[in-house]
Every structure is written in C-alpha cells, then in structure tokens.
Assembly symmetry: C2
Homo-oligomer: 114 residues x 2
C-alpha cells in the first residue's frame, strides 16, 4: 500500500520451538525499535490515544527537536509498528493493529504463539 | 537472595495510562536487553529447555566465544530476565518466572496490565 511500510512478518516469538539466525535477528530488530525511552513514550502515547496523532504533537510532549522526533517516528514505522498517514503538511501516526498482536506474541514466553 | 539480581520492578507497560520519563527509560532498558540476536537465542533456548542450562552449552550452540557469551548472559541477568545458579565451576541459567510475566505485560499494547 502507498505510504505504508511492510508489516512485521518475519520475526519469531521468543518461545518458538525452533528459532533460526534470521528470525533471531528480526526479533532483536523489533525489540531494538523499542529500546529507546523516546520511542517507548511515542508508542505509549499512541496506545493511549483515541485516534491518529499528529507528528507535531510529539515535539512539545517529548521535549525533543523536530528532526529527532522524525528520526524516532521513522524508526518505529520502518520496524512495522506504526502506520503513517499524510494529512496536508503533517503526518499522523497510529499503532498498527497487526504489530500490536505480533509484539504481544513475540514477547510471550509462556508459549502462546502467533 | 544470594547470587541473584534484582527482579524487574520498575518498568511500566507500553500501554500504561501515564508513563513518566523514568518508567520509559526502564521499559526501554528491558527491550534493549532483548535487542540482540544472540540474547534472543539465549532466551529462546531457556524458554524451550526443561531446566536450567549450563553457560558452557551456549558457546557451541551460538558459535560465539566464551567471553561474548558471558557478556550476553550478564546483560540478561542484570536486566532481571535470568536467574543464575552456580554449580561447581559452571553457572546455570534459567528464565525468571516474574520476568516472563512482566515482559508479556509490558509488551501488551491491548491494555492488560501487571
């Protein structure tokens, strides 16, 4: 789809019976996308917002410069966690529903899988 | 307890209603512990093993040197994810049950909390 990154499709759950090197790398990549306080706060904001959030709102909320916010939004979008929608001059972001499911499955060490 | 790191106690779920800067950092730190393919494979091995695993088993399984394996095991233990038990000259590792629960709760964006 136009303007969308590919969904998370490659990583395997931490509790997968067999985990090859490629899957381990993809899973580590997904966790790496969340291994930053600013990105955790962006995801938290989106998780607790009723609708898409304008990129312009993160700058004051996080106390970060616009290029830094853009970098974090790009990283999260590339990891397949966010959906980006252009509205005029601003981009709006929301959590991808499939990413939410996938992250919970990957982090579930109790054995439930996707 | 002797020989144990503190459990994961500080990080907040990604979907927490309010997430302060300290909690965001702790949550990012937890994800950072899993943002490496070797550490993902260690956790995967422990998640699929019936009992504690000797540190000596990871070296051949991961194709990494002993110091590198030790570094990864230390990082995971410090993050509160692993329990370390000394048996003679070798250390044995297992997943902490509370960490398993905590990780699933932190990564659950669907709203369920700890």
């Amino acid at each position: 789809m136009l303007g969308e990154e590919a969904p998370i499709a490659c990583c395997a759950p931490l509790a997968a019976a067999v985990l090859d090197e490629h899957e381990a790398e993809a899973t580590a990549e997904l966790f790496g996308a969340l291994a930053d306080p600013a990105r955790v706060r962006i995801v938290n904001t989106l998780a607790t917002s009723p609708g898409p959030v304008c990129a312009c709102e993160f700058e004051p909320a996080l106390g970060l410069s616009q290029p830094t916010v853009s970098h974090h939004l790009k990283r999260l979008t590339e990891a397949g966690l966010l959906e980006r929608e252009q509205r005029g001059r601003w981009a709006y972001f929301s959590l991808r529903r499939d990413a939410v499911e996938k992250l919970a499955a990957v982090a579930d060490l109790k054995g439930a899988c996707c």
